[in-house]
Amino acid sequence: MLKSLDPRVNRLSIPDDFEAPMAAKEQLDQFETYQSFIQTKEGKPFEHAGTVHAPNEEMAFLFAKEQFSRRGTFCHALCVVKTELILVSEFTDNGQDVYDTFKGSYSGDTSASFEVFHSVKRGKHHKHIGTVEAKDFEDALLASKETYPRDKPVFNVWIAKSEDILMSDEEDADIWNTLKEKKYRDAIDYKAADRIKAFKAEQG
């Protein structure tokens, strides 16, 4: 039996020898991804927080809540949207406004509602800018170009259909009221820096 310092591993009774080679994994063994956005305070814009894998949007919400909205992150509301349902615009170098690259003009059609997110610099999170009405994704980009004046160049735009977004319920906002005292969760007083330095020195 495989011996470990972790008693949980020992309880798994793993044999010393594995059958080699291990069985091949199925090619697609991961769930699809969802993008999550956090609103830190009522009235503030939603900002992109990160990606989670999940079988559906409800579970994506569950996971996003624990991945991205605790440990000192203030959160008032959270929303998720399936990655493949987001239209990602071209990227520019940071000097050029990506909107300048969109040709054509907004149709004026208001049949669908879209949420617009801007990233103003490479590496910066996308922030919610507002909601536009248009006939499709491309049209929404043009609507956004007309609607939102820009004093600084926009690096990249995300567009998502409003109806594709799963938003936390207002009445559930209290799930972010957790115990303030979280010291037991952190290893802040665990001083290992000296030992790590010594180890590195030893390794040369």
Partner: protein, 251 residues
Amino acid sequence: MNQNAIKDLLYKMADDQLILGHKNSEWTGFGPLLEEDIAFSSMAQDKVGQSWQLYKILNELGESDPDTVAFMRNAEQFHNSQFVELPNGEYDFSLIRHFLFDTAELIRFQMLAESSFETLANLAKKIKGETKYHSMHANIWIKQLGSATEESISRLQDSLDKSMPYALGMFEVSEFEQDLINEGLFAGEEALKAQWKTKVTEVISETSLILPDMESITPVYGGRYGKHTEHLQPLLTEMSEVFNVDPTADW
């Protein structure tokens, strides 16, 4: 206020949270997917944190400090229900236990928000958000896997059938039950069980799972009075390993 009654209530709640928090934390690094590993571990830590808050109230009522109470007692001095000390087994069992326990946890703390013991009522209000998320997490998982594939349904069904006698054991009444009710400290296990049944039935009815007939099941009692399975003492020994090596160790 009947001190013995309130202490008995606090001990059984704190012990449940500590033991289940520890059991659930055993999934850290072994979860079915990374996101769930993080979420489940995080909720396990919430439970340990809640037990600590309850032990702190006990400390204010004259009991030893939380670390001593958590790590220095033997199995027969613990008041947790036997349900929480059962081995994790496979994830289906942990999920069913999480669902059955956390549904009760949410309702218990909602009831305690009305307690005449203000310190406890305030704590119950403070952790309302945490317990609400726990229950939301459990409900969504059960609804998802409870109607997904043949394997997921039969696994959950087996765990549900196996769990039910132990789950009903959570509501074993205290010797001070009537005092708790009369003094408005806690509306009592029977009232809690009734609300719990309603909620559990509601969630299960949205799945392909069949709820066992609770009236014909004999609950597994004893935990609240220090009678435990053979699983608790080894768990306590493992939990207190560091404390026993160096009782003054601190982060």
